[in-house]
C-alpha cells in the first residue's frame, strides 16, 4: 500500500463517524435505485410468465382486424365477431377446438353487499370456456357453470368479497344479475390477473347480459390438433374468415398482453420510480459534497503539514478521493444488498396488503447490480471531487495558521452569475409557456432556474436567515442565527438538498391542485343539472350505468330531464376519438355548453357537434364535413352542425343516439345528468333519484360539487404515491442537515465548551443547535416553496396546451409542506443537539 492509501485508511478509521452520514445517504440512494431495477425486472418477468401460462393453450385467436385506438385507450376497441363463426372454424382441418370468447363488464357484490374492486383495474365478466386449454382462468375449486345463473369467480374476487361456493350474490352488468357461485378460478396460478376481477357465466347468460346483441363474441379462441403448429393453424384459418376478421397466433396474443402490461404499465411505473431515485441521488450529492467540504476544511492544518513535509498536491488530493471511493464503494455494495432486500420485501408485502403481484423468483440482472454500483460510486466521488481539489491546493503555510474553520463567504461573481442564470431561466421558462406552449423550452428554463437557485443559495442565505430568524429573540435563537450565518456556502449547500426535495413536492402539489381546479372548473361550468348519477370507482373500474336507468329517472315526477351520456368510439378523419352519445334535444336542459355556433338541439343523424378546441385544431366550422369510420367498418360523412365551448363533460364529440345506434358496442351510459322538476326540493329530488338508482346497481348520486370533485378522484391517489416516493429525497436532505450539524458541532467543540463554562445550560445548548437546524431547514423549505410554485405554474401552463386551465396554489397543502419542512428541521437537529449537550465542558475547552 502506498503512502496516500495508507493515510486514507488511517483517516477513515479515525473518522468513521464523520463519514457515517455520507455512507447512509449513498446507501439509501443506491438501495432505491437497485430496488427499483430489481423490482421492475421481477414484476416484468412474473407478469410475462403469468400471461404465458394463461394463454399457453390458445394456439390462435380470431378477431376483428381493425382496432380503433384513442389517445386515452391504447389497447383499442374492436368490433365483435359472430359467435357462430366458432362452429365453422371447428370444422376446419387441424383445429381441435374453437370456442367464442364473450367478454363484457360485470362488477360483483361482496357478501356484505359492497361492490368488489373497480378502484382502477376493470371488473370483467365473460362466458366460462369449458376447454381448459382455451380458458385463461383455471377452475381451482367447485365446478363449471352449467345452468343459467351459475358462475365461476376468480379467487381474488372471492377473497375480497368474502364469497364462497354456494353463495348467491349480484353481478352488475350494470343491470343486476343474480348469480350463484359454483366455482373458484385462478389466473395463471395466481388469485387473479392483478386486481382485475373476472366472473365466468354460461355461454347463454354471457350472450344475454354482457353484449348488446346475442351472438356477438369478442373473439374466437382456437386450439390446434397436435402436430399442427400455430403458424400452420393461422394459415388454415385465414381463407375461412369473413372480411375484416383476422387470425393471430397465441404467441402474438401473449406478446400483446405482456407488452400492454410490462411495456405500457410497468415501464412507466419503473421509469417513474427511477426518476424519483434520481431526485434522491441528486439531493444526496449536495449532502456528500458538504461532508467532504467540511472534512477538508477541518483538515486544513493536517493537509498543510503533509504538504510541508513534502506531499505533492496530487497525493493530498488522492487521499481525499481515496476516502470518497472507499465510502462510496462500501455504501454502494451495502445499498445493493439493501435494494435487493427492498425488492424482496415488497414482493412479500404486496400480497399482504391485497396487491396480488404474481409470484416468481427475484430477477437480478447484471445491469441492476452494475448500474447502482457505478452510480453510487460516481455520485460519491463526483461530489467529493471539488473538495478534494481544494485539499490538494492547501498551502503548506496553512499549517501554521490558527484556525481551520471554513468561513467561505459568497462572492460578487457568484451573486451576478447566479442572478443571471436564474433570470435567464425564468425568461426561458416564461417564453416556453407563452410561445407554444413548448414543454422542451419550459423544461430547459426550469433546469436553469434550479441551477440559478443553487448558485444563488449562499448569496441569499445571509438575508434569508436574518429574516427567517428575526422572530428568534432569545439568546439560543440568536446564537443559532449567527451560527447558521457563519459559513453561508455550507448553510446554503445543506439547505439546497432540502430545497430540491421541497421544490419537487410543491411542484407536484401545485400541479395536482391546478389540474383538479381545471377539471373542477370545466366540469362544474358545463354541468347545469341538479344531480349527476355515475358508477363509483375510477380508472378502468366503473362499468357505466344501465341504459334503462335514464328513462326510469325521467319518468319520476320529481325529475324534469334525465340525460344519459353514452360512449362511443370512431376514427374521425383518420384518428381515433371517443364520442359522447346523447339525446341532443335534452342536452341543453342539463348541460351548459357555453357559446354554441349552430344548433345542437336539432342534431340530425348525419351531423355531429364538436368542441371549440377540437374544431380549431382541425380547422372546422359549422358546415364542415368529417369522415367517421366505425368499428363495424362503415365510413360515412358527418356534417359539423354545432361547435360548443364547454367540453368538460361531453368531451370533443357529441352524436345523437340514433346516429350511433347502428354502430353501438356497449349499451351503457357513462353518466346521467338530472335536472329536477320546478318546485322539487334538492333533498327530495336526490332521494327520489337514489331510490330508483338503487334498483339499477346502486350508482352514486352526486350533487354538482361532488360530481366535479369525483372527476379528479384518481389524482389524489397519484399525489399520495408521489409524496411517498419523494419522502426518501426529503429524508436524505434531512440526514444531510443532521450530518452537517454533527460536523459543525465537532468543529465548534471548544466554543461549545466555552459557552457551557460561562453558563449556557444543556437545554440552551440543545435549543441553539436545534434552532440552527430549523433555520437551515426553513431556508431550504422557503426556497423550495418558491421554486416549486413557479415551476408548478410553468408546468401547468406548458402542459395545458392552450386550453384554459386554472392555476391554483393550494394554501393549506403548501402551509403543511412548510410546517413539515421546519418541523423536520427540528427533528434533524435533535441528535446533533444531544451529542453537543453531552460534551464534557473541561475536555471541550481543552480540545484542539
Amino acid at each position: 500500500m502506498n503512502a496516500t492509501l495508507r493515510l486514507s485508511a488511517a483517516s477513515l478509521r479515525a473518522h468513521k463517524r464523520r463519514y457515517f452520514g455520507t455512507f447512509l445517504v449513498v446507501l439509501l440512494g443506491v438501495s432505491f435505485l437497485a430496488g427499483t431495477l430489481v423490482m421492475g425486472d421481477t414484476l416484468k418477468s412474473a407478469f410475462d410468465s403469468m400471461f404465458g401460462r394463461a394463454t399457453s393453450g390458445t394456439d390462435a385467436v380470431v378477431r376483428s382486424a381493425d382496432a380503433i385506438t384513442t389517445p386515452d385507450d391504447a389497447f383499442g376497441t374492436r368490433e365483435p365477431v359472430d359467435a357462430a363463426l366458432a362452429r365453422t372454424i371447428a370444422g376446419l382441418p387441424g383445429v381441435a377446438a374453437a370456442v367464442p370468447g364473450i367478454e363484457g363488464r360485470g362488477q360483483l357484490l361482496g357478501a356484505d353487499g359492497e361492490p368488489i374492486g373497480g378502484q382502477g383495474p376493470p371488473t370483467l365478466a365473460g362466458n366460462w370456456i369449458a376447454d381448459p386449454d382455451l380458458n385463461s382462468y383455471q377452475l381451482a375449486e367447485g365446478r363449471v357453470p352449467r345452468r343459467s345463473g351459475e358462475a365461476v369467480i376468480n379467487r381474488g374476487a372471492a377473497k375480497a368479497g368474502g364469497l364462497e361456493i354456494g353463495d348467491t350474490t349480484v353481478l352488475r352488468t350494470p343491470d343486476p344479475v343474480r348469480i350463484t357461485v359454483v366455482g373458484i378460478s385462478t389466473f395463471g396460478g395466481e388469485d387473479g390477473m392483478g386486481q382485475v376481477t373476472f366472473t365466468g357465466l354460461t355461454e347463454t347468460d354471457a350472450a344475454r347480459h354482457l353484449v348488446p346483441e346475442p351472438g356477438q363474441a369478442a373473439s374466437i379462441r382456437v386450439r390446434a390438433d397436435s402436430g399442427t403448429s400455430q403458424d400452420e393453424l393461422v394459415r388454415t384459418l385465414r381463407p375461412a374468415l369473413p372480411e375484416g376478421v383476422e387470425a393471430v397466433t397465441g404467441q402474438e396474443i401473449t406478446e400483446e398482453n405482456t407488452d400492454e402490461i410490462s411495456g405500457a404499465f410497468l415501464s412507466v411505473f419503473t421509469l417513474m420510480l427511477l426518476v424519483f431515485a434520481g431526485i434522491a441521488l441528486l439531493v444526496a450529492t449536495f449532502s456528500i459534497h458538504n461532508t467532504f467540504a467540511i472534512v477538508v476544511a477541518q483538515r486544513t492544518r493536517e493537509n498543510a503539514l503533509l504538504r510541508a513535509l513534502g506531499a505533492t498536491r496530487r497525493q493530498v488530493l488522492g487521499q481525499t478521493l481515496a476516502e470518497a471511493v472507499a465510502v462510496g464503494a462500501l455504501a454502494s455494495v451495502a445499498g445493493l444488498a439493501g435494494g435487493i432486500g427492498i425488492a424482496a420485501g415488497l414482493q412479500a408485502l404486496f400480497p399482504a396488503v391485497g396487491f396480488p403481484f404474481p409470484d416468481g423468483d427475484l430477477v437480478v440482472r447484471a445491469l441492476s447490480l452494475v448500474l447502482p454500483l457505478v452510480v453510487g460510486l460516481a455520485v460519491c466521488v463526483g461530489s467529493a471531487l471539488h473538495p478534494a481539489v481544494l485539499a490538494g491546493r492547501t498551502a503548506p503555510l496553512a499549517a501554521l495558521r490558527e484556525t481551520a474553520v471554513d468561513v467561505s463567504a459568497a462572492s460578487r461573481v457568484r451573486a451576478v452569475a447566479g442572478a443571471l442564470v436564474a433570470l435567464a431561466g425564468v425568461a426561458v421558462t416564461v417564453a416556453g409557456v407563452l410561445a407554444g406552449p413548448s414543454t422542451a423550452l419550459t423544461g430547459l428554463g426550469a433546469v436553469a432556474v434550479l441551477a440559478g437557485f443553487v448558485v444563488l443559495g449562499p448569496v441569499a442565505v445571509t438575508g434569508a436567515v436574518r429574516v427567517l430568524g428575526a422572530p428568534l429573540r432569545r439568546i439560543s435563537g440568536r446564537l443559532a442565527r449567527r451560527n447558521a450565518l457563519r459559513s453561508p456556502r455550507r448553510t446554503a449547500a445543506t439547505a439546497t438538498a432540502l430545497m430540491i426535495g421541497v421544490a419537487v413536492v410543491s411542484l407536484f402539489t401545485v400541479f395536482a391542485s391546478s389540474l383538479k381546479a381545471t377539471m373542477d372548473q370545466s366540469v362544474s361550468r358545463a354541468f347545469a343539472g341538479d344531480v349527476a348519477v355515475q358508477a363509483s370507482g375510477f380508472g378502468a373500474g366503473p362499468n357505466g350505468l344501465s341504459p334503462k336507468l335514464a328513462p326510469a329517472l325521467a319518468a319520476l315526477p320529481e325529475v324534469d330531464t334525465a340525460l344519459g351520456l353514452g360512449q362511443g368510439v370512431a376514427r374521425v378523419d383518420g384518428s381515433g376519438r371517443a364520442l359522447t352519445v346523447a339525446d341532443p334535444a335534452a342536452l341543453g336542459r342539463v348541460l351548459d355548453l357555453g357559446t354554441v355556433d349552430g344548433r345542437i338541439d336539432t342534431l340530425a343523424d348525419d351531423a355531429v357537434a364538436v368542441s371549440r378546441d377540437e374544431a380549431d385544431k382541425r380547422g372546422w366550422a359549422v358546415g364542415s364535413t368529417a369522415r367517421f369510420t366505425f368499428t363495424d367498418g362503415t365510413t360515412r360523412p358527418f356534417t359539423v352542425a354545432a361547435v360548443y365551448e364547454e367540453d368538460g363533460i361531453t368531451g370533443d364529440y357529441v352524436l345523437s343516439r340514433t346516429a350511433w345506434e347502428p354502430h353501438r358496442l356497449r349499451d351503457t351510459d357513462r353518466v346521467i345528468a338530472v335536472s329536477f322538476a320546478p318546485g322539487t326540493g334538492r333533498d327530495a329530488g336526490k332521494a327520489a333519484v337514489e331510490r330508483v338508482a338503487a334498483r339499477y346497481g346502486n350508482p352514486e348520486v352526486q350533487t354538482r360539487q361532488e360530481y366535479a370533485d369525483s372527476s379528479a378522484a384518481g389524482l389524489d391517489i397519484m399525489l399520495t404515491l408521489v409524496y411517498a416516493l419523494l419522502a426518501l429525497a426529503v429524508l436524505i436532505a434531512l440526514l444531510g442537515i443532521a450530518n452537517t450539524l454533527t460536523l459543525a458541532v465537532h468543529e465548534r467543540t471548544r466554543e461549545l465548551g466555552l459557552l457551557r463554562a460561562v453558563g449556557q445550560t444543556r437545554a440552551q445548548l440543545r435549543a441553539m443547535v436545534r434552532w440552527e437546524s430549523v433555520l437551515v431547514a426553513a431556508f431550504g423549505t422557503a426556497g423550495g416553496l418558491v421554486l416549486g410554485a413557479f415551476l408548478g405554474w410553468a408546468m401547468v401552463e406548458a402542459t395545458a396546451g392552450g386550453t384554459d386551465s386554472a392555476f391554483a396554489v393550494p394554501p393549506v397543502q403548501l402551509t403543511v409542506v412548510a410546517l413539515v419542512g421546519v418541523l423536520a428541521g427540528a427533528l434533524a437537529g435533535w441528535r446533533p443537539a444531544r451529542r453537543a449537550a453531552r460534551l464534557d465542558v473541561l475536555r471541550a475547552i481543552a480540545a484542539e
Binding site: I475, R482, L485, A757, V758
Partner: protein
C-alpha cells in the same frame, strides 16, 4: 493534610479536604490530595506550583467545572457537590466569571455581545452602568462592534476579562490568562485584573506558572503534589521564583 490554613468565613471560594483522583489502579493519579484552602473575598489570589502540582485541577474544582472525588468545594456558602449539572451551570453563569488561556470569545459575536454573553444566557440585562464602566476600564469602547478575529490577542483577553466581570460574579477564575500573550499584553491584562480587584472589591483567583504574573496578586498559594505547601502575601517575582525553585528543584517552570 499538610499546612492547613484556617478556613476563612469571608472566603469567596474554598475547598476542604479536597481529593481528586484520575484513573484507577496502576494509572491512578491523585491530582488533589486532601487540600483545604480558601480564597478570600475582595482579594487577588494566585495559585502556583510546578507542572502536575494540581493547580489547574484545584481551580476547575473550585469553579464548578469539575467535581471532586471527595471533600467539598464552596462558592460563598454554596456547596458545589450538592448541585446537579443544571444548578452548577446556573451557578457558574450567575456567580462565577472565567478567563481562559485562549479561545475565550465566540467568533460569531461582537465584542459587546461577548461581554454580555453570560447575562444574555441568563436572560438578564445586568447593570448597564457597571458594564459601561467595565468597557472603559478594559479600554475597548472603540472596538465594541468588532468581531474577535479583528482584535489582537491582548485585546481579546481584555474582552474576556470584561466578560468575566460583567455579571458582577462572586469570584473570577483565570486560568493562565497571559499564557498566550507577549509580555506587554500580559502586563496589561494582569494590571487590569489587579486594578479591578482593588478598585471595585472583586475577587480573582488566577492559576499561573509565571512568577512575574503571580507578583500581581495580593497573595500566592503554592501547591505541590496536590497539597497546599505555602502561602505568601505581598509577593514579588523574585520571592515567588525562589519559593518555586525550592518546590521543584529539578524541573523549574515551563519557559
Amino acid at each position: 493534610m499538610t499546612t492547613s490554613a484556617p478556613v476563612l468565613t469571608s472566603a469567596a471560594a474554598r475547598v476542604t479536604d479536597a481529593v481528586k483522583v484520575y484513573g484507577s489502579g496502576d494509572t491512578e493519579v491523585r491530582a488533589l490530595d486532601g487540600i483545604t484552602v480558601g480564597f478570600p473575598a475582595a482579594r487577588f489570589t494566585a495559585i502556583m506550583g510546578p507542572s502536575g502540582s494540581g493547580k489547574s485541577t484545584l481551580m476547575h474544582c473550585a469553579a464548578g467545572l469539575d467535581t471532586l472525588t471527595s471533600g467539598a468545594a464552596y462558592i460563598g456558602d454554596t456547596e458545589l457537590g450538592a448541585l446537579d449539572d443544571r444548578r452548577l451551570t446556573l451557578l457558574r453563569r450567575d456567580r462565577v466569571g472565567f478567563v481562559f488561556q485562549a479561545f475565550n470569545l465566540l467568533p460569531t459575536l461582537t465584542v459587546a455581545e461577548n461581554i454580555t454573553l453570560p447575562l444574555d444566557l441568563a436572560g438578564e440585562r445586568g447593570d448597564p452602568e457597571w458594564i459601561d464602566a467595565l468597557i472603559d476600564v478594559v479600554g475597548l469602547r472603540d472596538r465594541l462592534h468588532h468581531r474577535p478575529s479583528e482584535l489582537s490577542g491582548g485585546q481579546q483577553q481584555r474582552v474576556a476579562v470584561a466578560r468575566a466581570f460583567a455579571g458582577s460574579p462572586d469570584v473570577v477564575f483565570a486560568d493562565e490568562p497571559t499564557g498566550n500573550l507577549d509580555s506587554r499584553s500580559g502586563q496589561e491584562v494582569l494590571g487590569l485584573l489587579g486594578r479591578t480587584v482593588r478598585e471595585t472589591g472583586r475577587t480573582v483567583v488566577m492559576v499561573t506558572h509565571d512568577p512575574v504574573a503571580a507578583a500581581h496578586a495580593d497573595e500566592v498559594v503554592f501547591l505541590a503534589d496536590g497539597r497546599l505547601v505555602d502561602r505568601m502575601t505581598a509577593p514579588s517575582a523574585e520571592r515567588v521564583l525562589d519559593r518555586m525553585k525550592d518546590l521543584d528543584p529539578g524541573g523549574g517552570h515551563r519557559p
